[in-house]
């Protein structure tokens, strides 16, 4: 295992016990270092055959929320906020779910939330595109091409599943961060809940 800085180590350790160390390391390294370019040292733990994508990340763009195990705490001058509300005791964070804690300052949390949302939107677009293409017909009718197409179709389906998983993962991450930010920016916990209410469309 490679050394980590900050308070991510605890979360990663807990994540490993839950069978997802490589995923946590990989995903956070991607989100934080590559996209948001935050000054954090994170690296993927591949001990024990860590995988780049966990099945828990999302199933058919639905299913379980990978981030349920973790708490995002935003620590600033006003105090420490989580998606569940203001933190009054340090020991409480993360322990309720048996998961880990990610502690961020408001600026970095904002940047990470913005990045997660952007990736979510990109993944959503790709996932919707893949859905629209499931009706696509084989491009040719000769047996050779048909055989190729059946393989290509399966490959396409696997690719679509991967996009679904990546979409769900970033969607849930963005939601969790935005809720915590809502609490931090607002005056009470209601702010976190109000994040979701913006929109007002029939499809909500």
């Amino acid at each position: 295992m490679c050394p980590l800085t900050g308070r991510f180590a605890g979360a990663l350790d807990r994540g490993r016990r839950d069978g997802g160390p490589g995923f946590v390391g990989f995903a956070l390294a991607q989100c934080l270092n590559r996209y948001a370019r935050l000054p954090l040292q994170l690296c993927a733990d591949t001990d024990g055959g860590g995988q780049a994508m966990s099945e828990d990340a999302g199933k058919a763009a639905g299913g379980s929320n990978f981030w349920d195990k973790f708490t995002f705490a935003i620590k600033g001058e006003k105090g420490t906020a989580t998606e569940s509300g203001w933190l009054t005791g340090v020991t409480g964070v993360g322990s309720a779910t048996g998961g880990g804690r990610f502690e961020l300052d408001p600026e970095n949390a904002e940047s990470l939330a913005k990045t997660a949302r952007w990736i979510r939107d990109e993944m959503q677009e790709q996932a919707l595109r893949a859905r629209n293409l499931t009706r696509m017909d084989p491009p040719a009718k000769d047996p050779g091409s048909e055989s190729f197409t059946s393989v290509a179709k399966r490959s396409f389906e696997l690719g679509a599943d991967h996009v679904d998983n990546a979409y769900k993962y970033h969607r849930d991450l963005a939601e969790k961060l935005e809720k915590a930010l809502g609490v931090y920016k607002g005056t009470d916990e209601q702010a976190g809940k109000d994040v979701k209410s913006s929109g007002g469309g029939v499809i909500r």
């Binding site: 763009a61 639905g62 929109g199």
Partner: protein, 211 residues
């Protein structure tokens, strides 16, 4: 090597001679033989074979010209998009080489979105969904016709956040629409297929007005 080629040529000529030896003089006629009948899978049928794979026929098709414009403007107006996805909705063209013109509407605040593609290129209409999507999807439902046009909705699982709705405007063409729930809809347990039908009804209404 030359000797081998020569032998092959002789055998080939002899075979042809044998094949023709039983023929009688007269006009050439198509030969009906059981061995020559190749059953074409329904998914491979051409335009003439539509509909296939269990897809219903479209009794009163819309002219294809209704699908000629910009889907971002013609299929759903800005006002309608706001009603469907909320005030923060944005859109961008999303043409698909294998399907046809398309548009993507997103509300980044709510997390909800839908993507529309006219299907003018596959020339399979709703039959494409029955032949290719139905076997892949855990949930595939025939919907009550939308303003007289047959429609199906499908998704990968009961708790899938996305649902695809496909409408046949003729046996050959139509449109396909995929809807994604936002956070609020997910938490409330909304069915994205319900939203898909609402959007599809709006699109059909707009396209019919254009005809």
């Amino acid at each position: 090597m030359k000797r081998a080629l020569k032998a092959v040529a002789i055998v080939a000529v002899a075979t042809l001679g044998t094949a023709c030896s039983g023929e009688s003089d007269g006009d050439a006629q198509p030969v009906a033989s059981n061995s020559s009948v190749v059953e074409v899978p329904s998914s491979e049928a051409g335009t003439e074979g539509l509909p296939h794979s269990g897809a219903p026929a479209v009794a009163n098709p819309l002219p294809e010209s209704v699908l000629a414009g910009d889907p971002c403007a013609d299929a759903v107006t800005e006002e309608q998009a706001k009603e469907l996805l909320g005030d923060a909705v944005t859109h961008e063209r999303a043409d698909e080489e294998r399907l046809g013109p398309g548009c993507n509407w997103t509300n980044s605040d709510s997390g909800a979105a839908f993507r529309l593609n006219y299907d003018t290129k596959s020339r399979q209409g709703l039959s494409g969904d029955y032949a290719n999507s139905k076997p892949k999807m855990a949930i595939f439902n025939e919907l009550e016709p939308i303003d007289g046009f047959p429609a199906v909705a499908y998704k990968k699982a009961e708790d899938d956040l996305m649902c695809t709705t496909s409408v046949g405007l003729s046996d050959e063409y139509g449109f396909v629409l995929s809807v994604s729930l936002g956070y609020e809809g997910e938490e409330a347990g909304d069915d994205p297929c319900d939203g898909g039908r609402i959007v599809a009804e709006q699109i059909v209404s707009n396209l019919k007005a254009k005809a």
